[in-house]
């Protein structure tokens, strides 16, 4: 059991980090191990924002190995050198925790080659690259992660998030959601459910050059959609195709720079409650997530089995 939440304001920018934090905190009982945010913030769109980590959080519940800060420093230096080798320019850098960083960079070449180079450093993983996407995930509940990374100050139009109960993989950042849709900028995915043909799909996608960073089945959705889009499918086409290609029970959200989508498996075995008005869509695993930002009486509904929906800003 995990909790997922998402929202999109179609006509305005709001304090999106704060709103998503309220929704995810309401779902804490569904997943207390880790929390992740994919926030589509207000930027000038000039530079790429790269969120990456060079180690793991060894906090409560984590099965990661404790490492010295000096080890993280060495890996960061390797990342900086790799960026220089790639011809990327660091415009701004922030160290958010001993192991995680936010860079603003100038870069205009292939993101797949870029990712391979950056992630060649030990324990280094790009959490996201985008001109709007800010992907943050860590051990702890929504409030703790929000406070740790100052997410309540981020404004934007849409966001998706995840409260994780670890089942088939470890309690660590690499297995936490959301997952970045490598190698596409600004694509992120969160998922509630289980995929039963994970290894078959993973082997096929790896043979096509796609990259997996964890053994979490949810990562497959991000990679699966990215591969479809790489071959020319639209986001919605890729999502509809996933209902046939992915086996199991699932409800997932996917977000891009200007859109938000949801898909539900053909057995409708995982919950989702949806509120939709002319200027706002809010959805979550339980109605209390929506009520946390819309306490007034509203009309909500459960999307049906096999339903795919995509909304634009």
């Amino acid at each position: 059991m995990c909790g997922i939440a998402g929202l999109i304001h179609k006509d305005k920018s709001v304090n999106i980090g704060s709103e998503l934090q309220l929704m995810l905190q309401a779902l804490k009982h569904r997943g207390p191990d880790s929390t992740g945010y994919a926030l589509y913030g207000d930027t000038d769109g000039q530079n790429f924002i790269m969120r990456f980590k060079v180690g793991e959080n060894v906090g409560e519940g984590s099965n990661a190995v404790n490492e010295e800060t000096s080890v993280y420093d060495k890996r960061k230096k390797i990342v900086d050198k790799n960026l220089s080798d790639l011809g990327a320019t660091i415009v701004k850098e922030e160290r958010l925790t001993p192991y995680s960083f936010r860079y603003e960079i100038k870069y205009d070449k292939d993101l797949m080659e870029f990712s391979k180079k950056i992630e060649s450093a030990e324990m280094t993983e790009i959490l996201s690259i985008g001109k709007s996407l800010e992907l943050i995930k860590d051990i702890g509940d929504a409030k703790e992660v929000c406070d740790r990374y100052n997410l309540d100050k981020i404004t934007g139009t849409h966001a998706i998030g995840h409260a994780r109960m670890a089942t088939e993989s470890g309690v660590d950042i690499k297995s936490a959601h959301p997952f970045w849709g490598y190698p596409f900028s600004d694509v992120s995915v969160v998922h509630n459910g289980q995929l039963t043909n994970y290894w078959n799909n993973r082997r096929a996608l790896e043979n096509k050059g796609m990259r997996f960073m964890s053994e979490c089945d949810s990562e497959l959705i991000a990679v699966y959609l990215a591969e479809k889009m790489r071959n020319g499918a639209t986001l919605e086409e890729g999502m509809k195709d996933s209902l046939k290609g992915l086996d199991g029970v699932f409800t997932y959200f996917v977000a891009t720079k200007d859109s938000l989508g949801m898909a539900k498996d053909t057995m409708a075995a995982k919950p989702l409650v949806l509120y939709e008005s002319d200027n706002l869509v809010a959805m979550g695993s339980e109605e209390i997530a929506i009520r946390s930002i819309l306490p007034q009486e509203i009309d909500t509904y459960d999307p049906f089995d096999g339903e795919v929906k995509v909304w634009q800003i």
């Binding site: 409708a268 409650v273 109605e287 209390i288 009309d299 459960d302 049906f304 089995d305």
Partner: protein
Amino acid sequence: MANLKTTGKKSKAQSMGMHTEVLTGRTQQKFFNPDEAENFYYFGTHDVDFNKRTELDVKDMDAPDANKKIDSLMSEGYGTIVIKNPQGKHSLGVGILNKLNLIFEGSLGYFGVGSCDGPNVRINGRVGWSCAQNLMAGKVVIEKNAGSSFGAAIRGGDLICKGSVGARTGIDMKGGTIIVGGDAGAFTGFMMQRGRIIVLGNVGINLGDSMYDGTIFIGGKIGSFGSDAVTSDLTSSDKDWLKRKLKVAEIGENFDVSKMTKIVAGKKLWNYDNLEPTEKKGAI
């Protein structure tokens, strides 16, 4: 209380240390006798006065506290209770075993009004998954939409949703009636054993999958039939019953029931006979 006795003779399981005693004594099962109905005491019930009305704001309460407060109000004789600000909380209004007019001014989360026997409930909002599961008797009306597993395993009563419902509506139901004014999702009537389901709109795939018995009436399109679900002729008594039920339910009173599709169990999957469970003992 059953007697626990040890015996000298050991079975293979006993000699392996799995258990060392046998249960003897009178059965703990109690059978309801209609002749003794007046003497029947239902633990945890209250005599209430429908004209005695009160309101309860549960905005700052969790579900256990809210349910305890409802029980406390019933013990004081309140027969009409209006719940304010339920705000999607789970498990509200559960385990009510007596007559009561219970009105929710808003929406409920999961497992709302579950395991009830007798109350008349109106929810002026939406309900989440597994609303009214195990309902024994009474009437539950939802003014808006409902989530999946609507009316799971109900034994009796009327469960009415004026909007649309999710997947697995009436799963494992053993009696009673479920009425849906809008559409219903996949696996409607999944493994149902008795009772009736009426859906005025469309239904998703695998309708009536693995149903043992009972009847489903569909007014709209059917995604697909599940295993062992087959159509049957709509009789005049079916039509009369449907009209009466829809009128009482305040839903679809003018709906043309003659165009509905009737679905029953094909009874090809299992070993069926025509005996009631109570008759089987004699037959064996």
